[in-house]
Symmetry: C2
């Protein structure tokens, strides 16, 4: 039963949203959205926060699949991975669509 297992294995988006649910992390995602991989030091540059804190945030993002690290010499470069972002976007679109459909049916019922 492919359809059943496909339905059963719906990925759970909570971790992705949780990873995005922090100002600092959201800002990191925003900064990496230009497609340029950056080192931890580069991402710390604004100085608002310690390098270690940035590292932790990057690990969280990596854990949610939102970012990927690649070591290059003495620095490790973090790059955005758009796939889970897109998946989360699609998920939200689905919920919104469900809502709109429901309202549509309600209106049809009332009018009908």
């Amino acid at each position: 039963m492919l359809r059943a297992s496909a339905r059963a294995r719906r990925p759970d988006f909570a971790p992705v949203f949780a990873a995005l649910g922090d100002r600092t992390r959201l800002s990191l995602v925003g900064r990496l959205a230009d497609g340029v991989p950056r080192s931890i030091a580069a991402l710390t540059e604004d100085g608002a926060i310690t390098r270690q804190a940035v590292t932790k945030h990057l690990r969280v993002l990596e854990g949610a699949g939102l970012v990927r690290a690649e070591r290059s010499g003495r620095e490790s470069l973090y790059a955005l991975r758009p796939e889970p972002l897109e998946a989360a976007r699609a998920y939200l679109a689905g919920v919104s669509r469900q809502w709109d459909d429901a309202l549509g049916r309600l209106k049809a019922f009332v009018d009908g």
Copy 2:
């Protein structure tokens, strides 16, 4: 300077994502997506969790604007508010678009 203040007041989505970043809460949102307001008791029915815990989650969702409570007699009915969901969706779309544009420019440069 209307434009400047409009730009300055970009809503910050972290709280919305944070509210969505929990399985239970995400499930509540999913259940309310059919447009039917539900009481706390109704939303607790599966019994996986205490009514109090559900209440707390609903308050968090309400704090993020994702849900709205209206008291009706002895029960308070919670209804989904699609606006912040849609806004969050649009935000993610924006990040994805930025990423795609960046890749497009990079490709144009390489090919160029």
